[in-house]
Amino acid sequence: MLHPEPHPAEVVLLTRRFRLRDSASIDTYLATEGYQAFRKALAMTPEEIIEEVKKSNLRGRGGAGFPTGLKWSFVPRNSPKPKYIVANADEGEPGTCKDRLLMQYDPHSLLEGMLIAARAVGARAGYIYIRGEYRYLIEILDRAIEEARRRGFLGRNILGSGMDFDVYTHSGAGSYECGEETALLESLEGKRGVPRLRPPFPATSGAFGCPTVLNNVETFCAVPPIILKGGLAFAELGTPKNGGTRLFAISGHVNRPGVYELPMGFNLLRMIHEVAGGVRGGRKLKAVIPGGSSCPVLRAEECDVAMDFDSLARAGSMLGSGGVIVMDETTCMVKAAARILRFYAHESCGFCTPCREGTRWLATVLTRLERGEGQPGDIEVVRNVARNMLGRTFCPLGDAAAMPASSFVEKFREEFEAHLEGKPCPAEEVAIHA
């Protein structure tokens, strides 16, 4: 899964152990500054830790990009309830496969990040909620947890500091929605993956009704270097308000698909052409989904953009989970949109009206269009149904379905019209002549 060498443009910080021998073992970890950040954190006050994370401009790597330090600061310090740390290792967003590598090659950095978070908020237990398909990673993580316990980094009275903290893995069983933080908590409590009403937010009432810090795996993995090298150093790697590096999973029609660690704000075109080796077969770039299937698609001409949360928002899309899906000129956009919407219809939990009915409706119409069974008005229906879902569903899954749907039909309308009018698919025409 790894290229033999990192690409020269990469800044290897979170991925720096990936190519070491036995990279997942605690010995390798300890030999490469492992648990040093935690030792440092033990000497800091909780406020100092949170301050450092704030300074780093670290923003959540799970999708929404919420400032991590700020999130931690919402945990009520004086609550009498136990507090929990939860790592979101559900990695379900199509186009995203980076947490998998972090856990496979450097599980201890996740544990150390969770430990530091626990120190910052006073938590006594942590859970890694990991998608059921990642069974082999559960085994790797369980081994890492066992090692850490044996070396006194987890358990009671850690390193003689008086701090108690332990981590447990928890398996999902096939549900994209369980990546949504409150659905995840429901699932963690043995229930259907149906999201919870907010407020209260997990910071005040999360796992088992107690204050909880919930972050993406990569977010936690970024914490040890922040503590060790200082928040500012991390912040400086990126762009303003978008600190650090991030793991981009580049998939689709590129010559060198893979997961690359690049500084925040890295140019998307450079990413495709330089880092990922350019578009496959020398074809023309047609479109890119820059942050996982939930993000609005960009036309090729919109791709000269810095890959950080704010720049992409300005470009009308999102950085999301960092899953860069590259499509060349042979890609049928109707087919792509239909496939994406079938995914959301399959994964909608069904709890609220607009998501349950809207995803089904969109998937049905787009699939008909894909098959050449379009009816007049279908394109308007897709745009309108997507608009009616947007911002009106119980959780963001509805938006995640509506945004690709509307952006595909709006930006590639001519292709949808061709399908509707029974003309040959323009993309297939290209494919034949290519």
Partner: protein
């Protein structure tokens, strides 16, 4: 119901992972681990899980019917899950799935007559950069071309027959 030592050990560890008054938390992983051994979430499994976690059959049904990896009927010895989601689709995931249907002579959710293989078209499995990808039970296979798929099937069939023989 009593399960193998390994499974029981896993279940025992699970139950200890949660706050004492949240035994139910073990439900989803417990069902999955038991399914790994039994092959499906059978009515007996539901009953057993109810007893172990002190919850009602309805509460278990709600959960079983929600999660896509939990199933009521056993899959084949080798459960082949092919991702056809966008990243894999772009590099031939859908074609691979169609090829697999033809090769195995079964459709989505089908099981071959000899019970050796079952097939499922699945959503993204987190292998987007290495597609087309599939999982056989829990094992990942990346960059699977139709030819590689055929080789994989032959090899698995060989293993299966060997295991059956011994």
């Amino acid at each position: 119901m009593k399960f193998s030592e390994q499974t029981e050990a896993k279940l025992a560890r699970l139950v200890e992972s949660y706050p004492p008054d949240h035994r139910r938390s073990a439900l989803v992983p417990m069902l999955l681990f038991i399914q790994d051994e039994v092959g499906a979430v059978t009515p007996q499994v539901v009953e057993e899980v109810c007893a172990r976690l002190g919850i009602s059959p309805l509460e278990v049904e709600e959960v079983v019917s929600y999660y896509s990896m939990l199933r009521r009927e056993p899959a084949g010895r080798y459960h082949i899950q092919i991702c056809t989601n966008i990243s894999c689709m772009l590099v031939g995931g859908a074609e691979l799935f169609e090829h697999a249907c033809r090769k195995l002579g079964i459709g989505n959710h089908g099981v071959t007559e000899d019970g050796m293989f079952s097939l499922e078209e699945v959503e993204c499995i987190g292998a987007c950069c290495w597609g087309p990808a599939l999982q056989v039970n829990y094992d990942y296979h990346h960059h699977v071309t139709p030819e590689a798929f055929d080789r994989l099937i032959e090899q698995l069939r060989g293993n299966g027959l060997k295991q059956r023989g011994t």
